[in-house]
């Protein structure tokens, strides 16, 4: 830790017993991105789920919007230490998307327009734990926050909630994604503070 800067407190922060270790609350919604913001027109948007046997399930925007949607209110935690409690989303549950998908795969890789990837066990995408979200705070999800649609997996650090979701590949093998291959924890449970390899 560096020397304390007298009189410095930074943006308004609170701690709360509802927060995972090492996190602080923010009032804004920071935008973190590893590259230029993809601009994806819903007219050409497509979501694909590809199974370990190569079977592809796809939805265009109309088909996706026709699916039953939920309105989860969740807490989100970024590995850079900010958290937001009670964020409102609208999205399609992965349970709905996977309902007709035949798979025995154990692992999933979420892929974004623009090339970003992140990996997680399939078990963490099901049973009401994850959505493909397209509205935030009652408004269509902005591009800088991952719109038209992003993955939302709030029980893991938010880098797992891939923005600009394009597809999910199911596999018997676990393949570390963009950050997981460069020091960030392969699983990323904020409550066990799994930020980096070996944590």
């Amino acid at each position: 830790m560096g020397i304390v800067s007298p009189g410095f407190s930074g943006r308004r922060r609170e701690s709360s017993e509802k927060l995972p270790p090492g996190q602080y609350l923010v009032t804004d919604f920071p935008v973190l991105s590893a590259g230029p913001t993809p601009r994806v027109d819903t007219g050409r948007w497509e979501l694909r789920i590809t199974t370990e046997t190569g079977q592809v399930h796809r939805w265009d925007w109309a088909a996706f919007q026709a699916l039953p949607a939920e309105e989860p209110t969740v807490d989100i935690h970024c590995v850079t230490k900010w958290s937001k409690l009670g964020t409102h989303w609208r999205g399609v549950s992965l349970d709905t998307l996977l309902a007709d998908v035949e798979t025995s795969a154990g692992f999933a890789t979420a892929k974004s327009y623009g090339g970003y990837t992140t990996n997680l066990p399939l078990a963490d995408l099901v049973d009401g734990q994850a959505w493909v979200a397209f509205d935030f705070g009652g408004e269509p999800l902005e591009a800088e926050h991952g719109g038209p649609a992003r993955l939302l997996v709030p029980h893991l650090y938010f880098w797992k909630s891939a923005k600009w979701l394009q597809g999910i590949d199911l596999s018997d093998h676990d393949t570390p994604g963009f950050w997981e291959s460069l020091g960030y924890h392969n699983y990323g449970d904020p409550w066990r503070e799994q930020r980096y390899w070996g944590d």
């Binding site: 830790m1 560096g2 020397i3 304390v4 800067s5 007298p6 009189g7 410095f8 943006r11 230490k81």
Partner: protein, 260 residues
């Protein structure tokens, strides 16, 4: 001579605020005593780190405004000029809370590319400096270095701001220009020109660069610094105006004059 870019691993050091100088209503120069400072080149920057009592910390980068000083008695001095952003996190602290005697953690000097060295190869070439807002800070270090080193390379600065109240170093630039030793400054106002001047407002365009800059035939070294959009637009105009891309060096800032 302690002018060379530092060798050895960079680590955080603690400087002490020796003096503070208001440059405008919203910008301030911080003069720091930094024991062990290895020296720097004009154009380099430092990373500044602030840490709250609960351990929360954040970093920003700021260009060094002061010229490298050679053979100075007493602890070496590093000056930073910081523009306050209304919704900033670090700039309000640096421009309003920080006081003389306070510690400030910094790491540097950083950067060997966006530098002008009066002793380096090509140092007699004409130099074109193009500044957008607080992008003038590293260019001012170059202007100060040129004067301190007795440099002969002719310098032209094109300095774009919103209005005259936003000008940094206005008096000093006027004084240096009046000294008549080869510095010429052209001001471009994007919103409000000085009252009574009759000068039109607007962004830097090809005509500005042609009339206030150097023609490509002079092979100037070009340094452009400011917000990303400004730098991209100016670099593009320079290339279209015939300047080689290899001659143009750019540094992009965040809006506060420091990079987040």
């Amino acid at each position: 001579m302690a002018r060379a870019a530092v060798l050895g691993r960079l680590t955080w050091r603690v400087g002490t605020v020796a003096a503070l100088r208001d440059e405008t209503a919203t910008a301030r120069t911080i003069v720091l005593d930094v024991p062990g400072w290895p020296g720097h080149l004009a154009g380099q920057h430092v990373d500044v780190r602030l840490t709250a009592e609960d351990g929360y910390s954040t970093e920003r980068s700021y260009s060094i405004a002061s010229a490298p000083v050679d053979g100075q008695a007493g602890p070496p001095v590093v000056e930073l000029t910081v523009q306050r952003l209304a919704d900033g996190e670090v700039s309000p602290y640096l421009t309003q809370t920080l006081a003389v005697g306070y510690p400030l953690e910094l790491r540097g000097p950083v950067g060997g590319w966006f530098v002008w060295n009066p002793d380096g190869p090509g140092s007699t070439r004409p130099v074109l400096l193009v500044a957008g807002g607080s992008g003038v800070v590293p260019l001012m270090a170059m202007i100060r270095e040129r004067a301190a080193a007795g440099g002969r390379a002719p310098f032209r600065l094109i300095y774009s701001v919103r209005d005259p109240g936003a000008l940094l170093y206005a008096d000093e630039l006027a004084r240096r220009e009046r000294a008549g030793d080869g510095l010429e400054v052209t001001y471009v106002y994007t919103r409000t020109a000085p009252p009574g001047s009759g000068q039109p407002t607007g962004r830097i365009n090809a005509a500005t660069l042609a009339s206030a800059g150097w023609p490509p035939a002079e092979s100037p070294a070009v340094f452009v610094c400011g917000p990303t959009g400004f730098v991209e637009a100016v670099a593009d105009l320079l290339v279209r105006g015939g300047h080689g891309t290899g001659a143009i060096k750019t540094e992009r800032f965040g809006p506060s004059g420091g990079k987040p």
